[in-house]
């Protein structure tokens, strides 16, 4: 019985984190972006600096009519938000916050994470195709091309960490982590983070969504709660990407003085802030620039990192 209770508590914590942390990141984005652009951002909802803005948005979305276009492929159309959202929740089960603080320790954890995150991508392709809208189809195909291209550097950079740690279990990787991995795995870390950013289709990699030219791409036809779930998926994605970069490249819960989980959260939120910062700072990349960056930039860098990791590991160990 205590075992079941233990698992239940872990799952409840994961679900709470899944439902609240993305809102905190979203609110931070509202405010940080506004101040970077010399605006105030939300100021009214909830009173203090508009802290309840996203809750108000959620309440509004829930009450909106759910319009499904007559031309759409109804079943695929209505399932797509779930396909985009649920994989990120499932990935959160293996992310360690502190020593012993994780949902489940899978021995193939890293592999599991990469495999399951790949499913989330299908959501936007499904949405794009089933909408039967020219913008959506364009967006869906751009999504597919972009995610295919950036999956490879992502996987190679992650493999470099598995080589360094000699394990694919995420808690195992954090335990094996030493401070000198920072310079050693730096290239891999940057490649992983940039490729992850592209996987999330966040600006400057938001060519598939490009609201100013193809009107949110795959999400053009979505309204109400389904659209809100797509948005939630995007912010959970930021959370998961930041958490994975933290665990793989920044030593997770390791750090002086403060307790482990605090370090993990600090690192996650610093990275999430970088995601927001990048969004405000860089213009959108064109489709061909996107592909060039992936194939001519990130893939060779990831291969270089693999070579570096291999040589150092064999010569030292």
């Amino acid at each position: 019985m205590p075992e079941v209770l233990d698992v239940a508590i872990r799952l409840v914590v994961i679900v709470i984190a899944f439902l609240t942390l993305p809102l905190i990141i979203g609110q931070t984005e509202h405010k940080a972006m506004a101040h970077m652009q010399a605006r105030l951002g939300p100021m009214y909802a909830g009173g203090f600096h508009g802290w309840a803005q996203l809750i108000a948005d959620g309440v509004k979305f829930v009450q909106k009519e759910d319009v499904i276009p007559a031309a759409a492929d109804r079943r695929v159309f209505s399932l797509a938000p779930a396909v985009a959202l649920v994989p990120y929740l499932v990935v959160m089960v293996v992310i360690p916050v502190g020593p012993g603080l994780f949902g489940a320790d899978l021995d193939a954890g890293l592999f599991f994470v990469l495999a399951v995150m790949g499913i989330g991508v299908l959501g936007s392709i499904m949405a794009g195709w089933s909408s039967a809208n020219k913008y959506s189809v364009l967006g869906g195909i751009r999504s597919a091309a972009q995610l295919m291209s950036y999956e490879l550097p992502l996987v190679l950079a992650a493999a470099s960490v598995a080589m360094a740690a000699g394990t694919m279990s995420l808690p195992g990787i954090v335990e094996a982590w030493q401070w000198w991995w920072l310079p050693w795995q730096a290239i891999g870390g940057v490649v992983f983070f940039v490729a992850g950013l592209a996987e999330l289709r966040r600006p400057p990699f938001d060519m598939p969504i490009a609201e100013s030219e193809i009107i949110m791409g795959p999400m053009t036809e979505y309204t109400g709660i389904r659209f809100a779930l797509f948005m939630l998926a995007e912010y959970v994605g930021i959370l998961v990407l930041s958490a994975l970069t933290t665990v793989l490249f920044l030593g997770g819960w390791q750090g002086p003085i403060l307790p482990g989980p605090v370090w993990t959260l600090i690192k996650i939120f610093v990275l999430a802030f970088v995601v927001i910062w990048v969004r405000v700072s860089f213009p959108r990349l064109r489709a061909d620039q996107l592909q060039r960056l992936a194939w001519v930039g990130l893939v060779p860098l990831a291969l270089l990192q693999l070579a570096l990791t291999g040589v150092v590991r064999v010569l030292i160990g």
Partner: protein
């Protein structure tokens, strides 16, 4: 509920919770939202003009090439993982390192080939 598969059982439970969250959100929304579908609302949205032709338009072949490239490399990359975990174990050392460079050379050659064939240039 013990042994190797118990941790995967937790994953399965969490997957179930994910489905429940999605279904629950839709259910709550169904209770709160109006439902008044009209033919005008259900028209495909294309800048407010009546849509011309079918939604499933044709697209560029170059996207197909990228996906083809990806499949080639991703299959290689999958085999990297089991190797990565054991390559520095006692008794391997130099041999596996040389093998890694052979592997990297193959991938690099593949990209070089694609680049020479001008697959990576936008037309």
């Amino acid at each position: 509920m013990d042994g190797y598969f118990s941790s995967y059982a937790i994953v399965a439970v969490l997957f179930g919770i994910g489905i429940v969250i999605f279904a629950g959100a839709l259910l709550i929304s169904r209770g709160l939202r109006p439902s008044n579908p009209t033919p005008e609302k259900a028209v495909t949205y294309e800048c407010g003009v009546d849509p011309v032709g079918d939604g499933w338009a044709q697209s560029q072949i170059r996207y197909y090439v990228f996906i083809y490239l990806y499949v080639v490399f991703a299959v290689d990359a999958v085999f990297l993982f089991p190797w990565a975990v054991v390559f520095a174990a006692p008794g391997f050392g130099m041999t596996t390192l040389v093998e890694m460079f052979v592997f990297l050379a193959f991938i690099a050659l593949g990209i070089l080939y694609a680049w020479r064939k001008r697959v990576l240039t936008w037309t």
